[in-house]
C-alpha cells in the first residue's frame, strides 16, 4: 500500500498550487460533468452509423453499456458490504478539492461507471471506445488529484467496470437476443 500512498501524494500534490488547475479538476471530478458527457456519448452512439447493420452494433453497445453500468454498480455496492476502506482524507493530511464522501473509498464507483461504459462501447467500436476510455481515465485521475480516492481505488473500480462489460457483452449471450428484440421494436418506430 506504500506505493499507493506515494502515487496518491504525487497526484494530490498537484492540487492547491494553481487555482486554475484546481477549478479544472473540480470541474472534471464532480458527479455531473463527465458522467453526463459519457451518457451523452451513448446518445450519439445510438444514432451513429451509415447503415442499419452498423447502427445495430452501436445500439447493442448502448444497451450493453447501460447494463454494464448497473452490474458494475451492483458489484461495487456488494463489495462495500464486506469491505470498507476509509477515504484518503480520513486519517491523513491531503489537499481536498471536493466534499467529504462517507462511503468506502475502494473500489471507486465513479471509475466503475466510466470504465463500464467505455469498455462496453470499445467492444463494439474501438475508435469511440478509446475516446470514452480517455474520458473515464480523466474522471478517475481527477478524483485522485482532488483527494477523494487512492489510485488503487480507481484501478479497482476500472477493473470491476471493465469486467462487468466483458461479462455482459461476451458471456451473457442471452442478452443479445433481448437487445435484438428491443432494437427491432424501436426500429418499427424509426428510431433505430
Amino acid at each position: 500500500m506504500a506505493i499507493d500512498w506515494t502515487v496518491f501524494q504525487w497526484f494530490n500534490g498537484l492540487a492547491g498550487r494553481w487555482p486554475a488547475l484546481d477549478t479544472a479538476v473540480r470541474l472534471v471530478m464532480n458527479d455531473y460533468a463527465l458522467p453526463t458527457a459519457l451518457v451523452l456519448s451513448l446518445l450519439a452512439v445510438w444514432f451513429a452509423g451509415g447503415s442499419p447493420a452498423v447502427r445495430e452494433q452501436h445500439q447493442r453497445a448502448v444497451f450493453s453499456a447501460i447494463s454494464s453500468m448497473v452490474l458494475g454498480n451492483f458489484l461495487v455496492k456488494a463489495m462495500n458490504l464486506v469491505l470498507y476502506r476509509p477515504r484518503p482524507f480520513a486519517f491523513r493530511t491531503v489537499t481536498l478539492l471536493f466534499y467529504r464522501p462517507s462511503d468506502s473509498s475502494f473500489p471507486s464507483n465513479a471509475a466503475s461507471v466510466g470504465f463500464s461504459i467505455a469498455t462496453a462501447v470499445w467492444l463494439f467500436n474501438h475508435r469511440i471506445g478509446l475516446l470514452l476510455y480517455a474520458l473515464a481515465t480523466l474522471f478517475g485521475l481527477s478524483r485522485v488529484v482532488g483527494g477523494v480516492h487512492y489510485p488503487s481505488d480507481i484501478l479497482g473500480g476500472a477493473l470491476i467496470g471493465s469486467m462487468a462489460s466483458y461479462l455482459i457483452v461476451r458471456k451473457f449471450r442471452l442478452l443479445d437476443r433481448l437487445w435484438t428484440a428491443i432494437i427491432m421494436q424501436v426500429r418499427r418506430f424509426l428510431l433505430a
Partner: protein, 348 residues
C-alpha cells in the same frame, strides 16, 4: 423515494440534460443528414449544424456549472436521481427535436409549395386520368414526346412541372400524368401508360414514332412494367424505382420528418403495388430498347444493392447515380434534369 437534495440544482440539471441532448441530436442530424432530427437544413451548411450542436452542449454546460457551482461541490442527488433527470431531459429533447424539425421542415417546404406547377394545358387521358401537356412554342413539324408518370405520395407537382418545362426547352413535348392517389389502384393503373402513349400518338404536334416514358418512384416501377409490353415506347427512364422491399428504419428520416416518415413506412399500398407491378421481372423485357435507371446517391428510400446486381446482367440498361441527390429531391435535381433531357433528345 426520490430525493433531489436541492430543487434548483435538480431543475438546472434537467434543463442542462435537455439542452445538451438537443445539441447531440443536432450533431447527429448533421453528421448523418437526418432531416427528421435537424432543426435546420444542414445539408449545404454542415458547419452550422456542428456549430449549433456544440453551442447547445457547451453553452448549457457553461450555464449549468456557472449557476450551480457552489452546490455541485457539495453532496447532491444520488446516481439514480441524476440518471432519472438525464433520461427525462434526453427523452424530452428527442420529442422536442422530432416535433420542431417537422414544424420547421413544413414551414420551409410551404415556401416552395407556393411555386406549384401550373404550366401546360390540362388534358383528359382515358376516362379517369388527367394530365398536363407541355408543347414547344412553335414546333413546325411533329416532335418527340415523353410521358412522365409521378410517384405515389411524393408530392412533387412542382418538380414535375420543372422537368416538363426542361424537356420542352430541348424541343420535346411532355405529358405529365396528374399526381393522384387514384392513379395507383391495381390493375387499373396498368392502363395509364398505354392510354398516355395512345393519347400522344394521336396528337398532331407529336411524332408517334418517337415516344418515350419516364417514371419516378413507384411511377418508375409502373413505367418499367408498361414499357416491357408497349412496343411503341422507344426508350424509357426510371428515376428511383422502388423495385425491391424498401428499408423502414431511421434512414427514412434522412428524407423526411418523423410524422411523414412514419406514414410513409406504414403505407401498405406502396409495398402491395411494388409486389404487384413486379417491375424487376418485367424490366428485363425492355431490352434491347435503351433504358436509363437513375438513383440519387443519398437515396434512403430504396434498397439499391439488389438493383445494382440486376443491372449488372443487362447490357441495354444505363445505370447512373446523381451525387448529392436523395429520393425526394431527385426529380428536379439539376443533374437529373440535364441527364434526362440529354437521354431523350439523343434517343428519340
Amino acid at each position: 423515494m426520490l430525493y433531489f437534495v436541492y430543487q434548483e440544482l435538480a431543475l438546472g440539471y434537467l434543463l442542462f440534460s435537455f439542452l445538451s441532448a438537443l445539441g447531440v441530436l443536432q450533431w447527429v442530424a448533421t453528421r448523418y443528414s437526418l432531416v427528421g432530427l435537424a432543426l435546420w437544413d444542414y445539408r449545404d451548411r454542415r458547419g452550422w449544424g456542428y456549430a449549433i450542436g456544440a453551442l447547445l452542449v457547451l453553452g448549457s454546460a457553461a450555464w449549468f456549472f456557472a449557476s450551480q457551482w457552489a452546490r455541485i461541490l457539495t453532496p447532491g442527488p444520488a446516481g439514480s436521481e441524476l440518471s432519472l433527470l438525464f433520461a427525462v431531459g434526453a427523452v424530452g429533447a428527442l420529442i422536442f427535436t422530432l416535433a420542431a424539425a417537422t414544424l420547421l421542415h413544413n414551414v420551409r417546404r410551404r415556401a416552395t409549395l407556393w411555386e406549384k406547377g401550373d404550366g401546360g394545358s390540362v388534358v383528359a387521358i382515358g376516362s379517369a386520368t388527367t394530365g398536363r401537356l407541355y408543347l414547344p412554342s412553335s414546333p413546325g413539324e411533329p416532335v418527340p414526346a415523353v410521358c412522365i408518370v409521378p410517384g405515389l405520395g411524393t408530392g412533387e407537382r412542382r418538380a414535375l412541372d420543372t422537368l416538363a418545362r426542361h424537356l420542352v426547352q430541348q424541343g420535346l413535348a411532355a405529358l405529365v400524368i396528374e399526381p393522384d392517389d387514384d392513379l395507383y389502384t391495381y390493375p387499373e393503373t396498368l392502363a395509364t401508360v398505354p392510354a398516355a402513349t395512345s393519347f400522344l400518338s394521336k396528337r398532331p404536334e407529336v411524332d408517334p414514332q418517337r415516344l418515350g416514358v419516364l417514371g419516378y418512384d413507384l411511377g418508375a416501377d409502373l413505367v418499367m412494367r408498361a414499357a416491357s409490353a408497349d412496343k411503341q415506347v422507344k426508350t424509357a427512364a426510371a428515376l428511383a424505382p422502388i423495385l425491391v422491399s424498401p428499408p423502414a428504419d431511421l434512414d427514412v428520416m434522412a428524407e423526411m420528418p418523423y410524422p411523414q416518415a412514419f406514414r410513409w413506412t406504414r403505407d401498405r399500398r406502396r409495398e402491395m403495388l411494388r409486389t404487384q407491378l413486379d417491375a424487376l421481372a418485367f424490366g428485363g423485357r425492355i431490352d434491347p430498347r435503351p433504358f436509363l435507371l437513375l438513383y440519387g446517391a443519398e437515396d434512403k428510400l430504396v434498397s439499391r444493392a439488389p438493383v445494382e446486381e440486376w443491372v449488372r446482367t443487362r447490357a441495354s440498361v444505363t445505370h447512373q447515380i446523381v451525387q448529392g441527390a436523395r429520393h425526394l429531391d431527385l426529380l428536379d435535381h439539376p443533374t437529373t434534369l440535364h441527364t434526362v433531357a440529354r437521354w431523350f433528345k439523343e434517343r428519340l
